[in-house]
């Protein structure tokens, strides 16, 4: 795992069996504190940066002003207060929810499908949500708010896409192996993508709007979107975190996990269901933000090892911080224009991942 561990371990430690849990507990705590610090710093900087600069100190005072018993007065003007609470804060919180959700879902899919290339969109979520959103944009324009219809259509499309992939995977052959499930996902994805392309061709005048949704965005309308996704993300993240030990057990393969007493099919279905609920909700609001679900878990894995006990909570914190940072770049690099966030995640995420890959490549197999 980590290079420094090897000499430590070979030096020998008579009580290593007992010392290990304590030692790794300390390491886990340090990693979690560092990731939490990264997230907090990202949030503060993310709120302060923008066309109107808000000082870090005044953000803290303005926040304290909202807390009871402290009797702090906000140093911000009414306009700045509105920028802080109605524009920046909801957007940063949404970035946290979406980024954390995508990273945790990605790690979970990778574990449950035992495939390092699995991302949250693999099993038909992207194509299903894409079709739902395209339909809503193409045919939903009829005076009554198509924007209210879009998240719902995307959510239903995503869930239906994964449901179809899972059902197909179960009927193919007797095995419900990860490979069968992935192939079923590929099949469903190409079918739904074909439908989506057809709809787009029929309504080419909506192409631009559909395209902008597909690239992902965190353009919020205040707290409404946050409140919309929060329950789904919360339920999904909590359920996935509770499965972290079982994901470790699955890493020894279906048959050995079964021999260890795990009902592999049930665990796989449960994890897929919860990862899908959360991802579908995130996608419904933010579109298809690529890369987070695959890059964040792998970067964390390279730094702290493959155990899901630490991987899932760290992916949550790092994914949230990562998306806050990339969103900040998306809205500042070409201000006042905004870059699609999906472009930014890949543009900055890929070099970052390359660095992580290079510096840790001597470790592991």
């Amino acid at each position: 795992m980590n290079a420094p561990d090897v000499p430590l371990a070979t030096e020998g430690d008579a009580a290593a069996g007992h010392a290990r849990p304590a030692a790794s507990f300390g390491r886990s705590a340090v990693a979690l504190i560092l990731a939490g610090g990264f997230l907090l710093a990202s949030v503060v900087v993310g709120i302060s940066v923008g066309p109107v600069h808000l000082g870090v100190g005044s953000i803290i005072d303005a926040t304290a002003a909202h807390l009871p018993l402290l009797h702090v007065h906000s140093p911000l003007s009414d306009t700045d207060e509105a920028i802080l609470w109605q524009l920046r804060a909801p957007r940063v919180v949404l970035a946290c929810l979406v980024g954390g959700m995508l990273a945790v879902a990605g790690a979970s899919y990778q574990g449950v499908l035992r495939n390092p290339l699995a991302d949250p969109y693999l099993l038909g979520i992207a194509a299903g949500a894409g079709l739902g959103a395209t339909l809503a944009i193409a045919y939903g324009h009829g005076g009554f708010a198509s924007y209210d219809l879009l998240p719902l259509a995307a959510f239903i499309g995503a869930a239906a896409g994964v449901g179809a992939a899972y059902a197909l995977g179960r009927t193919v052959g007797s095995g419900r192996s990860p490979a069968t499930l992935i192939l079923a996902g590929v099949t469903i994805t190409s079918f739904l993508t074909a439908l989506q392309t057809f709809v787009q061709q029929q309504r080419s005048e909506t192409l631009r709007e559909t395209y902008s949704w597909l690239l992902g965005r965190l353009d919020t309308s205040g707290w409404r979107d946050v409140i919309l996704v929060l329950p789904y993300v919360a339920v999904s993240v909590v359920a996935l975190l509770l499965h972290r030990r079982l994901l470790d057990v699955l890493s020894v393969g279906d048959e050995e996990a079964a021999a260890l007493g795990v009902n592999v099919g049930r665990v796989r279905l449960t994890v897929v269901v919860f990862a899908t609920i959360g991802t579908a909700a995130a996608v419904a609001i933010s579109g298809l933000i690529g890369f987070v679900g695959i890059i964040v878990p792998h970067a964390v894995r390279l730094l702290v090892g493959p155990s899901y006990r630490l991987l899932l909570p760290l992916s949550l914190l790092v994914g949230a911080g990562f998306l806050v940072c990339t969103d900040m770049l998306a809205r500042t690099v070409m201000a006042p224009a905004e870059l699609p966030i999906g472009v930014v995640t890949a543009f900055f995420g890929a070099p970052f991942f390359a660095v992580v890959l290079r510096t840790t490549r001597m470790v592991g197999p």
Binding site: M1, H18, R245, S251, E255, A258, A259, G261, G364
Partner: protein, 268 residues
């Protein structure tokens, strides 16, 4: 009471019959080795016992039918060491051994003090303490085999199933692993193993059962089962069987006469 009892056990995989009407019985603390040529059904018998494949007939563990037990209940009774275990390369040995505690934990529970102690005991027992924080990929074949055994030990199941436990080990490591299994057996563990190496099977197991094409062709003490005629018939092998105290051996013999290369040349 017998630890494991198989009655008319039949297994078909993909429509092909693999095991036909197998009867066998193991008493507590006994070591039974399954021998037989490749494809005889040894591994399938182990997997059926661990509840990993469907079967007809009966497999009962301590009186309970495997098919009627939950996955977790079977895992609490049977520890299974497959022939080629899947070792996640970056997982540490300590984490891996701790996985053996899974059958003793609730669905979403995490390991407690007792589980960590059981894992630590297993690590100590297999002399793996200093490897606890090393990734599995850094282990040699023998060390990895010990890690798998440690995981099975942490499982604390009364019946241990070993599928070819000595494959890919050098002769010293083979003996060490089997001596260790023997120690565990003397402490009350029941062992059912599939073994290619007839000499080692004969030396360590109390009884052997020879499977050929999914049927039992012989069962009894090593000397009763491993006769030269039987090995010749079912393995198509020429062997010499040595049976002296502590030195049971099945020695392969060349069929063609050995002609030294220089002698061959001079004859031309």
């Amino acid at each position: 009471m017998s630890e494991l009892r198989l009655r008319s056990l039949s297994v078909a995989l993909g429509g092909a019959p693999i095991l036909r009407e197998i009867d066998a019985e193991l008493q507590r603390g006994e070591w039974l080795a399954l021998v037989g040529p490749n494809g005889a059904g040894k591994s399938t018998l182990l997997r059926a016992t661990a509840g990993l494949v469907g079967y007809r007939g009966s497999v009962s563990l301590d009186g309970a039918e495997v098919a009627g037990l939950s996955r977790r209940a079977v895992a609490a009774r049977v520890a299974f060491v497959p022939q080629t275990p899947l070792l996640p390369p970056d997982m540490t040995v300590g984490e891996y051994v701790l996985l053996g505690r899974t059958p003793h934990l609730g669905y979403l529970a995490t390991e407690g003090r007792r589980d960590r102690e059981a894992a630590a005991t297993a690590l100590g027992r297999l002399d793996l303490e200093r490897f606890a924080r090393r990734p599995l990929a850094s282990l040699s074949g023998g060390e990895a085999q010990r890690a798998v055994l440690a995981r099975a030990m942490a499982q604390q199941a009364p019946l241990l199933l070993l599928d070819e436990p000595t494959t890919a080990l050098d002769v010293g490591r083979q003996q060490q692993v089997l001596e260790l299994v023997e120690e565990l057996r003397q402490e009350g563990l029941t062992v059912l193993s599939a073994m290619h190496d007839l000499t080692l099977a004969g030396q360590y197991a109390d009884r052997l059962t020879m499977l050929v094409d999914g049927c039992v062709v012989a069962s009894g003490t090593p000397a009763e089962v491993l006769t030269e005629q039987r090995v010749a018939r079912f393995y198509q092998a020429w062997v010499h069987v040595v049976d002296e105290p502590g030195g049971f051996a099945v020695v392969p013999r060349r069929q063609s006469a050995h002609v030294p290369i220089s002698a061959g040349r001079s004859e031309r």
